[in-house]
């Protein structure tokens, strides 16, 4: 009888939250890049406080991953060393550009607009690096485990890789108007999202036909549904509520866990076999339980503050994340 690998589930749940926060940043970054003046009013009030939380969730995921899979650190570090350092460079660029943009003085040689757009470029770069790493972990594309070698060319020429990345990009473009409630782009939402889901499905199928099982239906339907709900006045308030979006997004990402469990790297690694064991498991549970309470309380405090801020005149009112949703007619 198989038992649930709770270490995997907890680590993947944290990854899901991080990934949704990161994709929400990515969508904002793309909008700032292509239509800064038209979208900054909607994007910046959300992006400016949340980027600091996203980085914290990234660290949370990495540390729980280190905790859960100690025996994977040597192969992963050897396989993806260069790519991970590229990710780090882009991460520094992301943090630097947005924290400088937030506070740069008006009228200087470099404008806040250029810095926010640089943030967008860095975020897109991070997204590419993250997607390459994730798809390699899912499918084993470009990876030779026996020699601990990763070939970028091998990854590119693997049939599913390009559709895998293009699919995510299309979905992000399709859902960006929904998340940030950009009414003029509403009509683009459904075609891009549907095309993205279709291309993503193709990518997964090309990696391995087993990836396109019934499990894929749930995230696919929920993703398309979000863009469809944005087309109807009655459902717009629900679908543009950032908290609802984040929760549903986390469920969608979490439901994709079957892509890396019970096996990862295209079936070459059995996750249960590389998960930590013995007394470390108990310590992981205890700390995760304590952490869930601490992080839960902190996030509740944050959301409550944001909600209250919307009611206080004179306080910049970022993102009605949990507050009343204001929709541009």
């Amino acid at each position: 009888m198989s038992t649930i690998n709770w270490l995997f589930e907890i680590n993947f749940a944290i990854f899901s939250v991080f990934f949704v926060l990161f994709v929400s940043e990515l969508m904002g970054g793309v909008l700032l890049l292509v239509a800064y003046d038209a979208t900054k009013g909607k994007v910046l009030p959300y992006l400016v406080p949340i980027w600091e939380v996203t980085g914290t969730f990234a660290a949370f995921w990495v540390v729980t991953g280190d905790f859960a899979y100690p025996s994977m650190l040597w192969p992963v570090a050897n396989l993806l060393a260069g790519l991970i350092l590229v990710f780090l460079i882009l991460f520094v660029l992301r943090n630097a550009s947005i924290s400088f943009a937030e506070l740069i003085l008006k009228g200087g040689r470099i404008s806040e607009k250029r810095l926010y757009q640089l943030f967008g470029i860095a975020t897109i770069g991070i997204a590419v690096a993250v997607l390459v790493v994730l798809s390699a972990i899912v499918s084993g594309a470009g990876v030779t485990l026996a020699t601990l070698n990763f070939s970028l060319w091998g990854w590119v020429t693997s049939s599913g890789s390009i559709p895998y990345v293009v699919g995510v990009v299309f979905i992000a473009v399709g859902l960006a108007p929904v998340f940030y409630d950009i009414a003029p782009l509403r009509r683009l939402s459904v075609p891009f999202t549907v095309a993205g889901v279709a291309v993503e499905a193709l990518g997964l199928y090309l990696y391995s036909s087993s990836f396109l099982s019934g499990y894929f239906l749930i995230p696919a339907i929920l993703t398309v549904l979000a863009s469809v709900m944005y087309q109807f006045r009655s459902t717009i308030p629900l679908v543009t509520n950032k908290l609802v979006f984040a929760i549903v997004g986390t469920v969608i990402v979490f439901s994709l866990s079957y892509l890396v469990y019970p096996t990862a790297f295209g079936g070459a690694i059995k996750v249960d076999a590389v998960t930590t064991s013995g007394p470390m498991v108990g310590a992981f549970y205890v700390l995760s339980a304590v952490g869930a309470v601490v992080v839960g309380l902190l996030m509740a405090f944050y959301m409550l503050t944001v909600r209250n801020a919307a009611k206080v005149p004179g306080v910049p009112s970022p993102a009605p994340s949990v507050g009343p949703v204001v929709h541009n007619p």
Binding site: P70, F87, L88, R94, A96, S99, L287, P316
Partner: protein, 453 residues
């Protein structure tokens, strides 16, 4: 040792050397903001409000860059020293890292709430209360990472003998996941960091205030910077005393738990109980060459205990003896800093106004740079003193490191990037600190109004 191992070593040293400078400044700012908020609530003095408003802006920048460099370090540990992180993750050390994430969350959430939504809260002391978890979070992060360092110096929590005996299979058994929270050296290392890191932060800020005080064109600006300078000195007084006590305890701990490092730091060629204190110089064979010797001083300071000597260990296991010079510079710098603080107290007690004459402000500027140098040298002494081990007597750097040549290109890019980023960050922090007219800043702390939405 291969070039790539040395490159891994250099890259990490460079990254952490930059990181601790930013983090010290962040911790200093968090403490000064917290104290200023308290004094503002208590006295309603507008200069404390001005100080808060001006400090919050560079604090956000410092947090953003500090977070990035912290994550760079965390990921580099996995990437550059995967065998080390495998050991860390197989033992309770990873639990220390895990707890650090929660400290990081406390800092992040309260910082976001305080900076962007501070004005949502009513009540005279509420804003000050919001700053307390930020200080706790930043200090806790520093404490927890030093607990990892303490474990690297005095490892525990697994069967070390069996691990070493397992050779290249690196088998971890007998794990106690909670033991690394309290190793033999945790107490004094944590105590040391709680004194020295905030000291560096407030001294750096004090140096900046001193410089701006000397350059300010208006009386209001001079009063603002003088207010900051006085606060920095008061806090430095507390932290310098803590650092001196902690430093003495740490030396005692080294004598007990890392005798080879102790012998190298003190430059003791042979064991003995009445050793001289040697400033600079080096060891050739079993003799000290060069340097200045003060007969019997080391033996006196250590209460006549028997000191270990380098000759007790094979030369191949010695750490680089440059740590002795680094330690001496640190010692001299610390002593000068102590004298400077005593001089300031003497002036204050005798009711003189220390900053009425520019000399003390200039001196503060110089001591600010000296404190940062002393902290960097202290870290260097600790890390180089453990070489060739990454985990003392358990795992060498060479065995822990990643030999993948793909690290060179992006690694060099990180180094070049930091060479621009760190100075630019300091310059930018100065710009945003002074970015608004003094009248605006003296109107009180902001709640997100200074941010470009």
């Amino acid at each position: 040792m291969s070039d790539i191992v040395n490159f891994d070593r250099f890259l990490f040293a460079f990254t952490i050397g930059s990181h601790i400078l930013l983090v010290s400044l962040s911790i200093g700012m968090a403490i000064l903001i917290c104290v200023s908020e308290f004094l503002l609530a208590r006295t309603q003095n507008k200069y404390y409000g001005g100080l808060v408003r001006r400090l919050v802006r560079p604090f956000v920048v410092s947090f953003g860059i500090g977070t990035a460099s912290g994550i760079v370090m965390a990921v580099e540990l996995v990437n550059l020293f995967p065998r080390f992180m495998t050991l860390v993750s197989s033992t309770g050390v990873i639990a220390v890292f895990y707890v650090e994430i929660f400290a990081f969350f406390i800092e992040t959430i309260f910082l976001v709430v305080y900076v962007y939504y501070g004005n949502t809260f009513k009540g005279r002391y509420t804003r000050w209360l919001l700053t307390l978890p930020i200080v706790v979070g930043t200090l806790l992060s520093a404490v927890l990472i030093v607990m990892v360092n303490a474990w690297m110096n005095t490892p525990n929590g697994f069967d070390i003998g069996a691990y070493v005996a397992s050779g290249s299979s690196y088998t971890v058994t007998g794990v106690d996941p909670w033991a690394p929270f309290l190793t033999a050296s945790t107490g004094y290392e944590v105590f040391h960091v709680l004194g020295s890191v905030p000291l560096t932060g407030v001294m750096l800020l004090g140096g900046f205030f001193a410089y701006r005080y000397l350059k300010s064109p208006t009386a209001e600006e001079r009063t603002l910077f003088l207010t900051g300078l006085r606060l920095a000195v008061a806090l430095a007084l507390v932290f310098v005393v803590l650092s001196i006590i902690a430093g003495a305890l740490e030396i005692d701990g080294l004598w007990q738990y890392q005798p080879l490092k102790y012998a190298a730091i003190e430059l003791d060629p042979t064991p003995g109980s009445n050793d001289p204190m040697t400033l600079f110089g080096t060891v050739v064979g079993t003799s000290i060459v060069g340097g200045l010797q003060i007969p019997g001083l080391q033996g006196f300071l250590e209460g006549g205990k028997t000191m270990p000597g380098l000759s007790q260990y094979p030369q191949s296991s010695w750490p680089p003896l440059i740590i002795h010079d680094a330690f001496d510079v640190m010692l001299i710098g610390g002593a000068l800093l102590g004298l400077f603080v005593i001089a300031y107290v003497a002036l204050w007690v005798t009711k003189r106004k220390p900053f009425d004459k520019p000399l003390l402000a200039y001196l503060f500027l110089a001591f600010s740079a000296l404190t940062a140098t002393v902290m960097e040298l202290g870290w260097m002494t600790d890390e180089l003193g453990r070489q060739p081990w990454i985990v003392y007597n358990v795992l060498t750097v060479a065995n822990a490191a990643n030999g993948n040549n793909a690290l060179y290109g992006p690694g060099i890019a990180i180094i070049v990037g930091y060479c621009f980023l760190v100075p630019f960050t300091f310059w930018f922090m100065d710009r945003v600190f002074r970015g608004k007219p003094i009248a605006v800043d003296l109107s009180g702390p902001a709640g997100g109004e200074d941010v470009n939405y």
